[in-house]
Structures are given as structure tokens and as C-alpha cells.
Symmetry: C2
Subunit: 186 residues, 2 copies
DNA sequence: CCCATTTTTTGATAATTGTCAAAAACTTTC
DNA sequence: GAAAGTTTTTGACAATTATCAAAAAATGGG
């Protein structure tokens, strides 16, 4: 799905807006494994994923902890760093060869000014991020490891093949061994 | 702390803006125990807490689960319902007699228009909410029950006296019994 | 296609937290 | 200030998940 196609499901995109988005956005490709952002850098871009898979992760006691996965038709960024203009607390990494549309912070501010209808997009993205977090908390607080895995399997089935056991386990807040056992018994 | 005083630490409040805020906001008092918002209602107000304590909670298997506490100089609202204009998934309740400043959604939109510098406030509140959630997730995922309790004791010491064991336990994602044992051994 | 490396699985055991039940302590109300 | 209600504590036991170690399977580069 293209960025324009995705946005069209939320707001009506005029020809002028479509042109402007094309003009100010940048298509980039990122090879599998590459870092898109490092911890302590400022994250000044929002990435729309046309193809591929990205994760955010950081380190706890030397171990990688995956904070989120984002796949086709989703946005990826260190949301905190992006909105607060502060150093990122997480790395962004392509887990597959990716085709991305990059929108910089300043480009986005300009879009808001020129095309007020795009404000809704900004709000949507914020809400989206917020709601995902809410759900994750409820999940972590009240579901067993198995239930959390099953929920993920339902909402992002392809992820189970596309990300490694360790990446998924850390995202679910459990050890690799536990996730491996959950998989084998199911 | 008054609302104006609190906002002054972030942006410069002109006399005109101060007047306008006074004109469009509403001081309200809410007695201890009272619900401020019920599940499934639309949350159309943002509350600044000048005095008192509020919690957000919902039910899981008939049991109350506290999602957050907000005290003096903090904002309280069902953030999701407020920004997405959708029914709330949580109740808001005063845990003490409260003195609040109420700002409605539409009033806030008008403020953004008339006083562009207030946009930063909106962003701040959003960020604040988001960052609290982020921290909570990291806490739930990688800290033991005891560590989570100790962290809360450091960040909001007065809360330990002001909220009940059950409310705090559900917020920390543990049972009352476990929290009681953590307290007694410490 | 094979060796080296990484990832996943399996096993045994320990630690953490939950569940259920009942007693103790604290509050509220008349 | 005593009875009723609520909240907190304690105990015994069970379930879940982590830890450590090692084997098995999968992957990647030459």
C-alpha cells in the first residue's frame, strides 16, 4: 500500500495535497538488518512502510528488548523523540529489506499549515501510537504469556515468521525459552 | 498550584491569554468517592488538578483495575476518549475531595486557534501521557513486583497513603496479597 | 555443500507470584 | 462506642515463568 492510498482511507486527498506530499516526501530503501536510528540521536523523521518490517528496540542488562514491530501500511518512528524533539531511547532497525516514505518533522509542520485537513493525520498517528501502548499494558498486566502470544499471532500472523524467537519473546516480555515452550505445546 | 502557574513553567502566558483561560475554564469541586466520568461516556473535558487525587479504572473479570493516578498539578482525562472522540473505556473517580479546573475539548480547540502558543501545551500533555505509558510498560515488562512498588514509592510517595492497597496493587499489576507481603518485608 | 555461527528446543530446578481461606486491623455509621 | 462493613495481613499451597546448561536445528558465507 502506498502512503497516499493509506491516507485516503482517513481523509480526502486533493490533487494539490497529493502533489505536495510527493514533492516533500522521500522514498528510501533500507537493506535488511540496517539501523535506521540509533539511541541518543534525535529522530526527525516519520517513516511510512510501503514494504518491509521495522522494529524499535533498546537494551536492558545488555540484552535487546524489542519495543514494537511495524509492518506494511504502518508508520515507524521513535515517537517520543519525534514529538518531544529529544534524544531517542531506542534504536530503529529494518528486519527486512524495506521501502519507506520518509517525512521529516519540519515537512510535517508545513503540511499542517498549508493543508489543515492533514492535522487529522497527525492526530490519527498519535492516537494510534497511544492506543497500541494502552493495549500492550493491558496485555502485559492481565494476560498470561500464552494469551499474549496468541493475541499477537491473531493481530500480526506474518510476524511470527518474519521476526526471530528472541525478538518476539522480548516484545512479549518473556524469555525465549518460555516462548519456545508455548509454541511447541500449542 | 494553579493552572496558570503550572502552564507558566512551559510557555509565557500573556495577560490576554490568562484572561481568556480564566474566562473559558470552569472551577469545579468534586467530593471524595464521586465518579467524574463513566465507562462508555464521551470524555469531553480535560481536568487540571489544583487539589486532590483522581484515578482512572476499569473492570476485568468484575475486578477494578486502576489504570493511573493523577494528583496536584497534573491533568486527568480519559485521554483516548478525549482525543479520539470515542466512548471512554475507563471510569474517572475522585479519591479525595478535589478542586479542579475543567477545560472542554471545544474550548481547547478555540484556544489553539486564538493563541498559537498554546499548541505547545496540547503537545506537552500528549507527550506526558505517552511517556508515562512508555515507562509503565518498561516497568511491567522488566521489573519485579517489588521494584515496581519501590519505583512508585519514589515517584509518588504520598500516593501510598492516599490510595488503598487494592487500588495500588491493581495499578502495579499484582494482587493485594502480594503487595501486602512486599510492604511487610521491606 | 560443509563448517561456523546463530537460533531454537529441551531438561532440570528455582524463584516469583497467584489463589483461596481465614484472621486481624481499621472505618464508618447509627 | 459497638456492630457492621471494609481493608489489610497471614498462611498453605499451586501455577507460572525464569534461570542455567546443553543438545538439536537452522542459517549463512566461502
Amino acid at each position: 500500500m502506498t502512503l497516499i492510498g493509506h491516507l485516503s482511507s482517513t481523509i480526502t486527498i486533493s490533487k494539490a495535497l497529493e502533489k505536495e506530499i510527493h514533492a516533500v516526501s522521500k522514498k528510501i530503501t533500507v537493506p535488511k538488518g540496517q539501523r535506521i536510528l540509533d539511541i541518543d540521536e534525535r529522530c526527525t523523521s516519520l517513516y511510512f512502510i510501503e514494504k518491509g518490517l521495522i522494529r524499535g528496540f533498546h537494551f536492558v542488562d545488555g540484552k535487546e528488548i524489542t519495543n514494537w514491530f511495524a509492518q506494511e501500511s504502518e508508520f515507524a518512528t521513535c515517537f517520543y523523540s519525534f514529538i518531544a524533539c529529544k534524544p531517542s531511547f531506542e534504536n530503529l532497525q529494518a528486519l527486512e529489506d524495506c521501502e519507506l516514505v520518509e517525512l521529516s518533522f519540519s515537512v510535517l509542520q508545513n503540511l499542517y499549515q498549508q493543508f489543515p485537513e492533514t492535522e487529522r493525520i497527525g492526530r490519527m498517528i498519535t492516537e494510534n501510537y497511544y492506543i497500541k501502548l494502552e493495549e500492550r499494558i493491558l496485555s502485559l498486566q492481565f494476560k498470561t504469556a500464552k494469551e499474549r502470544y496468541q493475541k499477537l499471532a491473531l493481530s500480526k500472523p506474518s510476524l511470527l515468521q518474519r521476526a526471530s524467537l528472541g525478538q518476539i519473546a522480548s516484545y512479549l516480555g518473556i524469555t525465549q525459552e518460555t516462548l519456545s515452550r508455548i509454541r511447541s505445546e500449542a
